[in-house]
Amino acid sequence: MNLLDPQGPVAAANSTILVDSVFIMLVIVVPTIFAILAFAFWFRASNPKARYQPGFVYSGRVEMVVWAIPALTVILLGGVAWIGSHQLDPAAPVPGTGSPMRIQAVSLDWKWLFIYPDQRIATVNTLTVPAGAELNFQLTSSSVMNVFFIPQLGSMIYTMNGMVTRLNLRADNEGKLQGLSAHFSGDGFPDMMFDVNVISPLAFPDWVVATAKTDAVLNEESYKKLMQQGIEKNRLTFRLDDPRLFDLIATQHIPPGPGPELLSDAGRPHSGGHDAR
């Protein structure tokens, strides 16, 4: 999950900006730290060679340099931030081979549901994508906020109930990556890690066919069962009954998922995450 080992163009661009920004700042920061230590050491009271200049309390030239150095650094970095924010807007397209692939991700308490509306399948806690294709994510939440994040593919984005956020990514190399939720969402939060299988575009249709053979059907009823608070250890797969299911969730036609039940009045709710292991 190393951020400096990107597996897609978005992550690569993000981490380049990250590293570049650090180096731009190090150019200023390293000499400054060195100067602090050097001045502190040289002007120690016990050093007879250091000249005591109690009158050196203002210098227009020094002041100008002192304001200019951080200002120039910030102007440079501000440019990086402005251009970077526009080029790497999570909603901006990321061209890839073939037609873009739509994936609708829903954060549930405490698992990820990935709906492939065009393939009419859905998976839980496993995301399988073809290498090289543009991935158009639409994201929402069944209940509380979460953040959808695959570190090696780049930008993360919030999922919120009643709202749809957008994120475009691309995975360049086949292999197994990991994703997670990057916003605390309750007792089962640590178990919201998910696998990302990047497979070859040739193998992808076969995977879709194989997945569609499952008996389990995802419809409003089975979704409501799935959104109950709890941890899902099995990598469930579904045939998608209604391709508009995501819209029903995002528009709250399916009401938000329920929270925990109170064991007693005295305010210590039973925790679904308790049986994590």
Binding site: P54, F56, H86, L88, T165, P190, E261, G267, R268
Partner: protein, 666 residues
């Protein structure tokens, strides 16, 4: 009768909070019994609990902060241990407990450690630096302190009665809403902060008024010590920002108690609104904390370099620039919520702009040292340690202000490392520097240097060993608040961080040892002159500890570094005052208003949390009645006769003269 409260609120099935609670309870009882048996109760009541003396209130603030630092630190140790062992296992803390711990850790460290520590130091020192006898509203000051203590008490009560929030220290809805947090945890959180928030607000109003309206003769704005400027900036921010927090939490509470829909998923509630509002308070809050620390370092660096602060006016400008810009950057806390690129870029650049005045401050401290004659007493060590550490925190801070970088680092362990880097390296180092620097002023004896230096080196080293690994874990994709994890690459860094926590704990133990050793050797460490560090500002112009009236005469200020100036002139003329003519001094009377008001506020807060409505009414009426009684008071001042003033002041004057003549002879 008792609302939601019954025996199931006591966590009999969870040994850790129960044992911790029992130990604290026994300790408190032991102290209380000792106080009563030894007959110290009247002394405590008359001299401290009802005191409206800004110095006493400042000391009590710092005591509160220190005690809560131990509580928040214990939480930190548990978290680091949990993350070190919870690789492919559940660790020793179940999620519902771990989640309470990190929520309590954040809440306590910000609201009940950092805030009372800096407010305590400001209370203690600012009136002395301004050359005045008290703050603008002495009784209100006491009310502010006791309400803060109420908040701290409620947070700690949640350890054994019920639970604390399991939502993180900012309690984002919808997770903190009634649907997903039906327990009392969020109510404990919200009511503690509402009550202590009122305390902070009145402290802010008080200090702003003090700086603006109560300055001694000749103390122009541009002659004020830097610490007074940062106090002004910080308290202006309090006055502007804390009402936002109060309003936001009030809306959350309306959602939870009366079925409103400000931040719910349903019925048009908007969770993003909460994010915006809480950070509109939350970002200024970090500057509320760090600005006073900047002020402390300015005083320390200047004093121990034996030079006036370099570029004083530049520093004033930088301080006020930070004060204003800090209100315009809140959105950088959620670049990843899907705002457009223009919005993200503008807030990113605004956030970086704060680095300019902050950088200027660093360089001005640097040039204050240049040409100085630096004495490395403990406060100066903290200052140099701060400068080095804070620059690194600033670097990572500017990094996460670059939106595309933040898209990878938001909510990660990298972020956790960043804000600990600036809050420990900035605020905590500042608080410790101020503690070491002004302790002799408050108590009349110096702190042991050997233990102080040990404390510094262990804390400094411990900080790096704890938090550099967290930066790396963040670069490895680790997000915050994980109760367990299965990624092998994170594990070694969590181990090192836990080891760093051990070093940090040794630092804290050294600090405690320093206090113990210094109290034992206090006669040897006695500061008779009131000016142990060869200081430059007016707090050193009076005895240590200062008399209740601070100054027998209002000092006459003729330039920056008022006391340094006086010392130089006194050496030339070889005397201070010929034969001073003492006059009667009027001082505010002690008042139990703050304590009684907070007592009723505690009852009301507790009752609100548990829905015990009759008790809410009782507490509310009690607190209100306390104010009414205070408002109808007839006498609020007493007179210290001139003879008494003379008796107290002469002793100090003799010491001071002998010091000045000695220095003059050299």
């Amino acid at each position: 009768m008792l609302g939601k409260l019954d025996w199931s609120a006591i966590p009999f099935d969870q040994p850790i909070p129960l044992i911790a609670g029992a130990i604290v309870l026994v300790a408190i009882l032991a102290v209380l019994i000792w106080v009563v048996v030894k007959g110290h109760l009247p002394y405590l009541w008359h001299e401290w609990i009802t005191s409206v003396d800004h110095k006493r209130i400042g000391v009590m603030y710092i005591l509160l902060a220190s005690v809560m630092l131990l509580r928040g630190g214990s939480d930190a140790i548990m978290m680091r241990v949990q993350q070190a062992i919870a690789y492919q296992s559940n660790g020793f803390l179940p999620p519902e407990h771990y989640n309470q711990i990190f929520s309590a850790h954040g809440t306590i460290m910000i609201f009940f450690v950092a805030m009372p520590f800096v407010i305590g130091l400001m209370n203690l020192i600012v009136p002395l630096q301004l050359g005045v006898r008290d703050v603008a509203f002495p009784t209100l000051n006491s009310v502010g302190f006791w309400l803060t203590a109420t908040g701290a008490l409620l947070v700690n009560l949640s350890l054994v009665i019920g639970e604390f929030a399991r939502t993180g220290w900012l309690a984002f809805p919808p997770l903190s809403g009634l649907s997903y947090s039906p327990g009392v945890g969020v109510d404990y959180y919200a009511w503690s902060l509402q009550i202590s928030g009122v305390g902070t607000l009145v402290a802010g109003i008080n200090l702003v008024t003090t700086v603006l309206k109560l300055r001694t003769k000749g103390m122009n704005y541009l002659r004020m010590p830097m610490f007074c400027w940062t106090t002004l900036a910080s308290n202006l921010l309090i006055v502007a920002a804390f009402p936002i927090l109060t309003a936001t939490l009030a809306m959350l509470l309306l959602d939870r108690y009366l079925g409103f829909h400000f931040f719910t998923n349903e019925a048009g509630g908007n969770v993003m609104m909460f994010m915006n509002l809480i950070w509109a308070w939350g970002h200024p809050e970090v500057y509320i904390l760090v600005l006073p620390a900047f002020g402390i370092f300015s005083e320390v660096v200047s004093t121990f370099s034996g030079k006036a602060l370099f570029g004083y006016r530049s520093m004033v400008l930088a301080t006020m620039a930070i004060c204003v810009i800090s209100f315009m950057v809140w959105l950088h806390h959620f670049f990843t919520m899907g705002a457009g690129p223009d919005v993200n870029a503008i807030f990113g650049i605004a956030s970086m702009i704060i680095a300019v005045p902050t950088g200027v401050k660093i360089y001005n401290w640097l040039f204050t040292m240049y040409g100085g004659r630096i004495r490395f007493a403990t406060p100066m060590l903290w200052a140099v340690g701060f400068m080095v550490t804070f620059i690194i925190g600033g670097l990572t801070g500017v990094l996460v202000a670059v939106p595309p970088a933040d898209f990878m680092l938001h909510n990660s362990m990298f972020l956790v490392a960043h804000f600990h880097n600036v809050i420990i390296g900035g605020v905590l180092f500042g608080a410790f520097a101020g503690f070491e620097y002004w302790f002799p002023k408050a108590f009349g004896f110096r702190l042991d240097e050997r233990w102080g230096k040990l404390a510094f080196w262990f804390t400094f080293l411990g900080f790096y060993v704890t938090f550099l690994p967290l930066y790396i874990a963040g670069m490895l994709g680790m997000t915050r608040r994980l109760q367990h994890y299965d990624v092998a690459a994170w594990r070694p860094w969590m181990f090192i961080a836990a080891f760093g926590m051990l070093i940090l704990s040794i630092g804290v133990i050294c600090q405690i040892m320093q206090l113990v050793v210094s109290i034992r050797n206090r006669e040897a460490l006695r500061d008779r002159t009131g000016d142990p560090w060869d200081g430059r500002s007016l707090e050193w112009a009076t005895s240590s500890p200062p008399p209740v009236f601070n100054f027998a005469f209002h000092p006459d200020v003729r330039g920056e570094d008022a006391y340094w100036d006086m010392k130089s002139r006194a050496q030339q003329q070889s005397l201070e005052h010929e034969a001073p003519e003492y006059q009667d001094i009027e001082m505010p009377r002690n008042s139990p208003t703050g304590f009684i008001c907070a007592f009723f506020a505690t009852i009301m807060g507790f009752a609100l949390i548990w829905h015990i409505w009759w008790m809410v009414i009782l507490g509310g009426i009690g607190a209100f009645a306390t104010f009414v009684v205070f408002a109808w008071r007839d006498h609020d001042e007493y007179v210290i006769p001139a003879a008494e003033v003379a008796r107290i002041d002469r002793v100090n004057l003799e010491e001071r003269r002998s010091l000045v003549s000695m220095a003059g002879a050299l």
